[in-house]
Symmetry: C2
Subunit: 323 residues, 2 copies
DNA sequence: GGCTAGAACTGAAACGTGTCAGTGATCAGC
DNA sequence: GCTGATCACTGACACGTTTCAGTTCTAGCC
């Protein structure tokens, strides 16, 4: 089923078919011709050949999202899900590459093999990878500039603050923030968030302490529980993965949740709802985020150097048993 | 950088470049010409245009793996990771589609938009979706036939059996199997596995009972713990998600793990290692699996109706604190 | 020397699009 | 009644690749 078949069926030239199906505004056709072409196309189940179109236009309709190493988090799966649907509605195909090819070079090579029209930089990957994509001539849509402009618009900050607000509203006044001991980028972010939360606690007359942990190792989590038991009554944790480990360590240490220690997680990981006690957490509203990315892709393709407005990523408290 | 540039630089025709770079066995060239062409290609950093090649060949080099709704499991991320790397080594690009488009129709439409050379049926999606891909003319590589031929070669069976063996070896003689209340396909599999485990327990002189749960709801997990407390001393759970919920419910009920109840999970979810007590589980060896899929893709493209030998997916016990 | 076989290479035609540069009508304006 | 503009539509080319069907040249054979 090609454009020729549609043209023959509608009794027009292939050129006409192309103009009409692409809704070219510079051309004019009678309403009757338009209808005939559309009818013929849908009767024949015509779908434009992707390869031919890409060849002619010099770019594919593929949008690439490199995300190596973040697959542990259902949050990212949710982001990808929402983005893919928003892009699909506009005729683009999102390819999320979670694969860990080993080296950044291999990652970029594998990504470039798809010859994507746009590469989305979600800040989840090393900056170096993005730079390499740009060096190879890929069109990159980034969220970094807007973050630099106003770091506190960053969703991570708002979500963590929401945790503290929830704990304060529940009467907790001896607060701890628990993060992961991460890479440079993350820990810089971590410092900024810590400062934000500390300020908020001080304003509320609450004490505040910050801790960082290696999420792969349960031993420090247990040590932390022993350390803060009795001293702290509210903990906001950087993600649900770590929060689950914390809840579990509390149970093992005989610390009651939420009576002795209220715990709020982040991301609404599916396991959070299955835990005993069930985990109170912050969930993301991803639909709007996906739509924002799709818009960014459109304007990037239109030639404007657009950046992502991640401010659009809202969140809300999911109140369960742990806080 | 096109084939024309390479040809000009090497002083040969475009045709020659194509034959040599594709290593066409039906043509002959002097070693010297071959070397010149390869040199020119690498000096210019020539990469064949994917769209042009797809247009000419009538198929892309994209391999699609539809996986809607399984993103909760890091297991699948691991499978995709291994498969993508194996395929990348052979010049294919794997696209794993985790997106939940709502309807199977939308899923298939989005998948077809990529015009993949091969669609991989991993049994994670509804059979109906696969049928629709086939109806649209896609080349489907399936693992179902081989399973039908010998269901007990299926990895799920071997892994569950391994759980029971581990518990038996630890002296447990009052066994429970805990699965999820799932869809038709899964529950049929569930019955087969249940039978297998029951037989094994009987042979060892151990008691056996089977339970199924809704993984999204913690209440039945707690009810189950209350029910089996004191009666059962070993539990093998269908996945780590549910196993984490179980460990957590035991702690809340005051049941000691592993002393009162030993628990073995499945999949080696990253949270399993962070729990208190850490979760003993079964981990998959995914590298070989990825290679098997890549081979299947090659032979499917070569025209042989190949099926996947999922028997290649081996597994092993990861012994931690819970059993 | 004439003939064939093969080696080494090339010209040209597709694959299905998008789009520029037309073409023949019709129509308003003077 | 001519001109120029507008409408409705089309012919033909280009995108970069693969591959069929040659073409030239050399070597081997009787």
């Amino acid at each position: 089923m090609t454009g020729v078949d549609v043209a023959r069926r509608a009794g027009v030239s292939r050129t006409t078919v192309s103009y009409i199906l692409n809704d070219d505004q510079t051309q004019s056709f009678t309403e009757e011709t338009r209808a005939r072409v559309h009818a013929a196309a849908s009767e024949l189940g015509y779908v434009p050949n992707r390869a031919a179109r890409a060849l002619r236009l010099g770019r594919s309709s593929t949008v690439l999202m490199p995300l190596p190493g973040v697959y542990l988090s259902p949050l990212w799966a949710g982001i990808v899900d929402a983005t893919a649907r928003a892009l699909a509605a506009r005729g683009h195909a999102l390819v999320a590459d979670f694969t860990s090819y080993g080296s950044p070079e291999a990652q970029v090579e594998a990504g470039l093999r798809l010859q994507p029209a746009v590469v989305i930089d979600t800040m989840a990957v090393e900056r170096r990878i993005i730079t390499m994509f740009e060096a190879q001539g890929a069109l990159v849509l980034t969220s970094r500039p807007s973050l630099a402009a106003d770091p506190f618009a960053e969703p991570g900050h708002r979500a963590r603050l929401m945790q503290v607000e929830h704990l304060l509203a529940r009467g907790r006044r001896r607060m701890a923030s628990i993060g992961v001991a991460g890479k440079e980028d993350e820990s810089r972010q971590g410092k900024a968030i810590e400062k934000l939360l500390r300020t908020r606690c001080r304003k509320a007359g609450a004490s505040f302490e910050a801790h960082t942990l290696d999420p792969a190792d349960p031993i420090p989590v247990r040590a932390l529980v022993a350390e803060i038991a009795g001293r702290v009554d509210g903990a906001c944790v950087v993600n649900d993965h770590l929060a689950v480990a914390l809840v579990s360590a509390c149970a093992a240490a005989g610390l009651r949740v939420p009576e002795d220690l209220a715990i709020v997680g982040l991301d609404d990981h599916p396991i959070a709802a299955a835990l005993s006690p069930t985990l109170t957490t912050i969930a993301w509203d991803l639909e709007a985020f996906g739509a924002t990315i799709a818009e960014g892709v459109e304007s990037a393709l239109a030639g404007q150097r657009a950046s992502l407005g991640v401010e659009a990523m809202a969140c809300h408290v999911v109140e369960r048993e742990s806080a």
